[in-house]
């Protein structure tokens, strides 16, 4: 562990003395101030706040100056190209990467990656990582005393199709405890890493599952102060994706920021 001057330096659960009630009050106060602002005519927010005190690790890690407006230049109007040489075809199925079957609820998560104009983001890299069904990551810093699943690494990669679609077969992750405050638990989530057709669209986010009782308590999810914006991170259960006697299906579409480059006939390079 490295030195961290913030309150997330807790060495263990007992050091994280702040209660959920304290955190929930902060979360509620920020949201009600935000709602008042929007009612007063302020434009709704669509992204998380970088300065969001309830997520204690953000206190010393958010810029305090406004970002500088920049018009994207040539390199930023392109994205790195990924292709089939970059990824094995089995990397989108997280349930077949070991000799045995991982334990948990088998699911498929599928959807489309679109730009702000609704155009599919084609042949681009999508990476995911997640905890296993017990809420444990294969990561040396994860100290949660839940079992590691020898048949599950929780890492997947794929390329989007011509319609911007992606699909992963995996196991539903469990919620897990963290040290933001006492008895802090993250809602179950899958981390998603996305590239667009321009580097300015690069983003990393987290996908959640519908109806999670931890949503209201979680400072990371709640750092998106706008309710409808937060909802965009929640997948939809889709029985048409669910497969008979095999897996449960979830749909989640991702919209990247608008591409600035004039849409060009450049889809000849794969």
């Amino acid at each position: 562990m490295s030195p961290q001057p913030t309150s997330d330096t807790a060495k263990g659960p007992d050091d994280a003395a702040e209660s959920q009630a304290t955190l929930s009050k902060e979360i509620a106060d920020i949201e009600s101030a935000y709602t008042e602002d929007v009612d007063g005519g302020k434009k709704p927010e669509t992204q998380p706040r970088l300065d969001y005190r309830p997520y204690r690790s953000s206190i010393l890690r958010h810029p305090t100056k406004d970002p500088r407006h920049a018009d994207p230049e040539t390199i930023e109007l392109f994205s790195p190209a990924f292709g089939h040489r970059d990824i094995g075809t089995l990397e989108s199925d997280l349930t077949i990467q070991a000799d045995g079957e991982p334990i948990g609820e088998r699911i498929r998560v599928t959807g489309r990656v679109l730009d702000g104009q609704g155009r599919p983001v084609r042949n681009q890299l999508v990476e995911i990582w997640q905890a296993n069904s017990a809420g444990r990551y294969i990561h040396k810093r994860d100290q949660h005393p839940a079992p590691i699943d020898p048949n599950f690494t929780g890492v997947g990669r794929t390329l989007t199709g011509d319609d911007g679609s992606y699909s992963f077969t995996t196991i539903k992750p469990g919620p897990y405890p963290w040290k933001n405050h006492h008895n802090a638990w993250r809602p179950a989530h899958i981390h998603f890493s996305l590239f667009g057709s321009e580097f300015t669209q690069r983003m990393i986010t987290q996908m959640y599952f519908p109806g999670d009782p931890l949503f209201a308590l979680d400072p990371i999810y709640q750092s998106i102060t706008d309710r409808s914006a937060r909802d965009r991170l929640v997948a939809t259960y889709d029985h048409d994706i669910t497969e008979h006697e095999f897996l449960m299906g979830y749909r989640w579409d991702i919209v990247l920021t608008g591409a600035d480059r004039t849409w060009m006939e450049e889809e000849d390079d794969d």
């Binding site: 490295s2 001057p5 913030t6 997330d8 669509t46 992204q47 998380p48 706040r49 970088l50 997520y55 953000s58 206190i59 010393l60 890690r61 958010h62 810029p63 305090t64 100056k65 500088r68 407006h69 920049a70 018009d71 230049e73 390199i75 994205s79 790195p80 190209a81 990924f82 292709g83 040489r85 702000g116 104009q117 609704g118 890299l125 990582w129 905890a131 990551y137 294969i138 990561h139 810093r141 994860d142 929780g154 890492v155 981390h191 580097f199 300015t200 690069r202 983003m203 990393i204 986010t205 999810y221 750092s223 965009r232 991170l233 991702i254 919209v255 920021t257 608008g258 600035d260 889809e267």
Partner: protein, 194 residues
């Protein structure tokens, strides 16, 4: 094929922090080696990521994306499985426990005549709720730097913080400060709300 079924102006999906557990997922073999280290054209790009207390951040991960020495924007695939010969222009580097990152790359060339070349950077970290974009300019192109419209929109101290320092061994040094007096200027592109 151009897609004409576009729906205008969808609202972007919100970002979220990369969290602490990306370490077994995002890094990959040779991820930070856009060219093989020690090869004739290789330039080391290195620096430290600091938080607002001046403490190195041990759990940040950076990506760079850049043209080659001649200003050509790479369109080659193969960044995830490097063959040692193809310059793909993309690299990824998780910082070490002291907050230090290091890439093996080349000096980018200008994509247009007289333009100041730069390396595009995106920063992710635990505790950072959304990605940050910035640019690393090269110190040598003094005329192009002076004429650059974006750099000219910054005050001198901020401008200097976007220009790397050249080491005697040819390496580029560029520190990233997430917060504070010496905070790195981060960029907002049109269409970004944060």
């Amino acid at each position: 094929m151009t897609d004409h079924t576009a729906t205008p102006d969808l609202t972007p999906t919100p970002g979220q922090t990369v969290g602490p557990f990306y370490g077994y997922a995002l890094p990959y073999d040779h991820d930070s080696e856009l060219v093989p280290p020690g090869s004739a054209r290789a330039v080391q790009l290195t620096g430290v990521v600091y938080d607002g207390a001046g403490v190195p951040v041990p759990d940040a991960i950076l990506e760079i994306w850049q043209p080659d020495e001649n200003g050509v924007v790479p369109r080659e695939t193969g960044s995830l499985r490097r063959n040692g010969f193809t310059f793909t222009g993309f690299g990824r580097a998780a910082v070490d426990p002291e907050g230090v990152f290091s890439f093996s790359t080349v000096d980018p060339g200008p994509t247009e005549a007289d333009k100041a070349p730069f390396i595009s950077v995106v920063v992710f970290a635990r505790g950072l709720l959304n990605r940050l974009f910035t640019r690393i300019y090269l110190p040598e192109h003094t005329e192009a730097l002076a004429a650059d419209p974006f750099l000219s929109s910054l005050d001198e101290a901020e401008r200097n913080r976007l220009i790397a320092t050249r080491g005697a061994d040819g390496s580029l040094r560029f520190d990233i400060r997430l917060q504070g007096e010496e905070e790195t200027p981060f960029l907002r592109f049109p269409g970004h709300e944060d």
